[in-house]
Amino acid sequence: MVIESAQPLLPIAIVLCVSVLILLSRKKPNVREFWSIAGAVLTFAAVVMMVPPVWRGDRLVYTLSTIAPGISLNFRVDALSLVFGIVSSFLWIFASVYNIGYMRTLKEHAQTRYYVCFAVSILGAQGVSYSGGLFSLYLFYEIITLFTYPLVAHHQDEEGYAGGKKYLVYLMGTSKGLLLPAVILTYVMTGTLDFSDTITSGVFPGGADNVWITVTYVLFIFGFAKAAIMPFHNWLPSAMVAPTPVSALLHAVAVVKAGVFCIARVMLSTFGTALLQDSGLGLLTAYFVSFTILAASIIALTKDDLKARLAYSTVSQLSYVILGVALLDKSGVLGGIIHILNHGFSKITLFFCAGAIFVASRRKKISDMAGIGYAMPFTMGAFAIASLSMIGVPPVAGFVTKWYLLNGALEIGNLPIMIILMASTILNAGYFVPITFRAFFTGDKKTWKQEGIGEAPLTMVIPLVIAALISVGLGLYPNAFSYLIGRLF
C-alpha cells in the first residue's frame, strides 16, 4: 500500500535544524556537541518511526514540489531506503560521541565548521535514502559531495588540499559529466524521473532504444563515483587525509554507501530487474565489479598505512553490494543490500580503532603496531571482531552477506562469481589477519608501558566496542533485516 505522508521529511528537517543550532552555538563547545548527539538520537528516532509501515509492506511517499512534468522533489520510504537510513542515522550517534574524544584530544581547529559540515553530510545521506526520484537523489547526492569537501581538506595543509582537490574532481566531475547526462537521457527516453513502483518493472518503455539504454546505464554506474568502482576509486584513498571520524562515518558509511545505494536504487527502481536480466546488463555488471573486488583487495595487501589499507578494503567491499544486486535474484539482492548494513557497522569499528590508535599513540603504520594489543586490548579486540566480519567468518555480520551472495550465485548457477567470492575471502583474510596477529602475538609489552600508551579516551572506546558488538549481533540475528529487505519483492 502506498501511504501519502510527510514523515520522510522529518529526519531531514531534524538534521537541518541541528546544523543551524550547531552553527549558532559555536561559542559554547559543550552545547554544540550536545546538539550533535541530540540531533543524531532524534534523527534515528524519526527513522525508526518509519519502520512499522514498511515492515507491514507499505511505502511512504511525499511530493514536496514539482520541478517539471515528470520531475519532482519527492520522497519515498521503502525497505531499501530504510536500510541505508537506519545505518547512517544510527552510526551518526556513535560518530558524534567519538568525534568529541577525537577532536578535543587532538585539539583540531575549526571544530564548528567541522560539526556543521558533518551534520549536513548526514542530511545528504538521509535525503538520498528517502529520495523518490532521480531529481531528489541527485540533489542530496551533490549536497554530500559539497559538504564533505571541507571535511576532507580539514587540515588545510598541502596534503589536505591535494586530497580535497582529487575528491572534488572525481566526485563532482563524474556527477556533472556522467550522472547529469544519464539523468537527462532517462528523462528524454521515459518522460519521468520518478522511481518505479516495483523492482522488476523499471521506468523504461518497451520500445526504447537499447543502445541508449545501455549508454545511460553505463553513465549511471560510473556517474555514481561515490561507489568507488574502478577506475573511479582513487578519490577514496586520497580522502583518508581527513580526520579519522570523517573516514569512519563518511568514507565507510554515509558517502560511499550513498554511492552504492544510488546504484542499487537506479538498478532496481529505474531500470528494473526484468530489463537488466533480458539485456544481460546485470550479469555484465557483476563481472565488471568483480574486478574491483579482487584488484582492490590485492592493493590493500600492499598498504602499510592502516587507513589506506582500510580504504582499499572499503573499495573492495562496496562492490559486494553492487555484485549482489547485479545477480538480480532474491538472495543476491538481499545479500547486496544487507551488506550496506553489515559493512557499515564493521568498517566504522575498524576506522574508529584506527583513530583511537592514532589518538593514543600517534601511530599510523601497521608495521609500528607490534604488540599494541597489550596496550589497547579493547580497541584491538574490537578490531579483531570487525575484521572477522570483513573476512566473513561466522557469527559476525559479514558472514551473512557472503552466505546470501553465495546462495545468489548458486541460484543462478554462476560458477565464476562463486570463485570470485571465495578468492576475495582469502584475500580479505590475507590483509586483515596479519594486523590482529601483529597486535596480539608479536612485539613487547614493555615498550608500550615505557611510552605510557594506553586506551584512548572513553568517548572513543565505548562507541567502537559497541559497534563491534552490534556487528556480532547482526551476524547472530540477521532475520529482522532480511525480513525487512524481503519486503522489496
Partner: protein, 494 residues
C-alpha cells in the same frame, strides 16, 4: 489590435506608471543638492517601481497568451506610430527582475560612489526607465527609442565611474551596440515597408516569404547576438563588465544581456519562424561554442569580475541553446535561465563590489582567504557561486536541466557538448570559491558585510533557493505564452 492585446483592467495606466516612475525620481533628484536626499530619493523611486511591478504580477493572468495591461495612444499618425504597451508571459518576470535589481544597484553604490553621485543616480534611474520600456513596448519605434535610450546612461556609467581602462571599455561597448542597433533599425524599417505599421503584434501574425524572413532574421540576429552576447560577438563584454562600476556591471549582466535573448524570442521566432528554423543549427552551434569556450576562458582568470563576465558568455549560451532547440521545456528553460542568470550573476557582481570596496582590488589573490575573516560574506558568496555552476537545489540547476533536456531531445551530441560546459562551470566556480574561502592564511582586518549589504543580497539569495526548489509558480507565469509561441512555430516547421 484587440485580438492580441487585453486592455488595462486597472483604473490607472500601470505600465506607464512603472516605466516613468523612475523618471519622476530623476526630476526630483535634479532639484536636490544634498547627497543623502539624492540617494534616498533614488532608493524610494526604485522601490516604488518594485512594489508596482509586484502588483503587476499579482494582477497578471497567466492563462492567456495575449498581451495584458494594454495601453495604446496615437503618437505620430503620419507613419502609423503608436505608443502601445503590453506585457505577456515572456516579459512579466523580466520586468520584476529589472525592478528587483535596480534598488540593489542604488544600495550598492551608497558609499562606493564618492563623486558625482547625483549624476550617477540619474543614470541608474534612466536605465531603469528605458529597460522596462524595452520590455513593455509593442511598437517598433517606441521599442527602438527605449533600446537606444539604454545606451547613453550605460555608456556614461562605464565612462565616468568606471575603472582604469574605462575609456577603452565604454567606447567598445558603445560601438558594438550601436553597430548592432543599425541592423535592428534596418529590420524594423523593412517590416514597416511590408506591413505599413510599426505594431509589433501585427508584425508577429503575418506570413512573409522565406527570402524576406532570412534577411530580416539576420539583421535582427546581428543586433541581438551582440547584445546577448553570442560567440564571436562577445569581446565587448569582458571589458565593459570589468571596467564598469558595480551597479553598471549588475545592470549589464542582469538585464542588458537579456535584451538580446528577449529580442530573439519576441522578434525572431514569431516574425521570422521559417528562417529561425533554417538558421537554428548555426545558432545552436554558436551556443555550444560559447558554453565551452566561456568555460575554458574562465578557468584561467585571475580577475574576479572578468571570470564572472566570461561565465556570462557561457550562461547566455545555455539561453540561446534553449531557445533554438524549439521545445516547450527548452523555451521555459531559456526564460528561467534569463531570470536565474540575472539573479545569480547580478548577485555575484554585487558580491565582488562589496569586497572591492574593502580591498580596492578585483584580483582573486588579493581577496582570497576570507573564510575566517568575513564569514557572512563568504556564506553569501558561496551560495551564489554554487548557484552559478548549477548546483542542484539552486535556481540555475533547474534552468540548466530544462535546457539540457531540450538539447538532448534535439541532438544527443549537442547535449553532451553542453554537459562539458556544465563540468567546466563547476570547475572554475569551485576553484574561485575555494580561493576566496581558503586561498590565503594571513590575518587581515576586513570588515564583514554590514546591514545595508545584507539587505540587498538577501532577496536575491531567497530567489536562488526559491526558484531552485519551487520553480513551477514562476514557470506557470510564462507557460501559456510559450506554449502558444511554440504552437505557432510548429505550424511552420515543415
Amino acid at each position: 489590435m484587440e485580438k492580441y492585446l487585453i486592455m488595462n483592467p486597472l483604473d490607472f495606466p500601470i505600465l506607464s506608471t512603472i516605466i516613468f516612475l523612475p523618471l519622476v525620481g530623476v526630476a526630483l533628484i535634479l532639484l536636490m543638492r544634498k547627497e543623502l536626499a539624492i540617494k534616498v530619493t533614488a532608493l524610494i523611486a526604485s522601490i516604488a517601481t518594485l512594489v508596482l511591478s509586484v502588483v503587476l504580477c499579482a494582477y497578471f493572468d497567466p492563462r492567456t497568451p495575449r498581451f495584458q495591461f494594454g495601453e495604446s495612444l496615437s503618437w505620430i499618425q503620419m507613419y502609423n506610430i503608436n505608443y502601445t504597451l503590453g506585457v505577456d508571459g515572456i516579459t512579466i518576470l523580466l520586468i520584476v527582475l529589472t525592478a528587483l535589481v535596480t534598488p540593489a544597484c542604488v544600495l550598492c553604490s551608497w558609499t562606493s560612489i564618492s563623486q558625482r553621485i547625483k549624476e550617477f543616480m540619474i543614470c541608474i534611474l534612466l536605465m531603469e526607465t528605458s529597460m522596462i520600456g524595452v520590455f513593455c513596448s509593442l511598437d517598433f519605434i517606441l521599442f527602438y527609442v527605449f533600446w537606444e535610450a539604454m545606451l547613453i546612461p550605460m555608456y556614461l556609467l562605464i565612462a565616468v565611474w568606471g575603472g582604469p581602462q574605462r575609456d577603452y571599455a565604454s567606447i567598445k561597448f558603445f560601438i558594438y551596440t550601436l553597430f548592432g542597433s543599425v541592423f535592428l533599425l534596418v529590420a524594423i524599417i523593412a517590416l514597416y515597408l511590408v506591413n505599413g505599421t510599426f505594431s509589433i503584434p501585427e508584425a508577429m501574425y503575418k506570413n512573409y516569404p522565406f527570402q524576406f524572413q532570412a534577411w530580416v532574421f539576420l539583421a535582427f540576429a546581428i543586433a541581438f547576438a551582440i547584445k546577448v552576447p553570442m560567440f564571436p560577438f562577445h569581446t565587448w563584454l569582458p571589458a565593459a563588465h570589468t571596467e564598469a562600476p558595480t551597479a553598471g556591471s549588475v545592470l549589464l549582466a542582469s538585464i542588458l544581456l537579456k535584451m538580446g535573448t528577449y529580442g530573439f524570442m519576441r522578434f525572431c521566432l514569431p516574425i521570422t519562424p521559417v528562417a529561425s528554423f533554417a538558421f537554428a543549427p548555426y545558432i545552436v552551434a554558436l551556443s555550444v561554442i560559447a558554453i565551452i569556450y566561456g568555460g575554458f576562458v574562465c578557468l584561467s582568470q585571475t580577475d574576479m569580475k572578468k571570470l564572472i563576465a566570461y561565465s556570462s558568455v557561457a550562461h547566455m549560451g545555455f539561453v540561446t541553446l534553449g531557445i533554438f532547440t524549439f521545445t516547450k521545456i527548452g523555451f521555459e528553460g531559456a526564460m528561467l535561465q534569463m531570470i536565474n542568470h540575472g539573479i545569480t550573476t547580478g548577485a555575484l557582481f554585487l558580491s565582488v563590489g562589496i569586497v572591492y570596496e574593502r580591498t580596492h582590488s578585483r584580483d582573486i589573490y588579493d581577496n582570497a582567504g576570507l573564510g575566517k575573516i568575513t564569514p557572512v560574506y563568504v556564506g553569501f558568496f558561496g551560495l551564489f557561486a554554487i548557484s552559478s555552476f548549477g548546483f542542484p537545489g539552486t535556481n540555475n540547476f533547474v534552468g540548466e536541466l530544462y535546457v539540457l533536456v531540450s538539447a538532448f531531445a534535439w541532438s544527443k551530441a549537442v547535449g553532451f557538448l553542453a554537459v562539458v560546459g556544465a563540468v567546466l562551470a563547476a570547475a572554475y566556480m569551485l576553484r574561485l570559491l575555494k580561493l576566496i574561502v581558503w586561498g590565503r592564511e594571513d590575518k587581515r582586518t576586513i570588515r564583514d558585510m554590514n546591514l545595508r549589504e545584507v539587505i540587498y543580497l538577501l532577496p536575491l539569495g531567497v530567489f536562488v533557493i526559491w526558484i531552485g526548489l519551487f520553480p513551477r509558480p514562476f514557470v506557470r507565469m510564462m507557460e501559456m505564452t510559450l506554449s502558444h509561441l511554440l504552437w505557432r512555430l510548429q505550424g511552420f516547421s515543415h
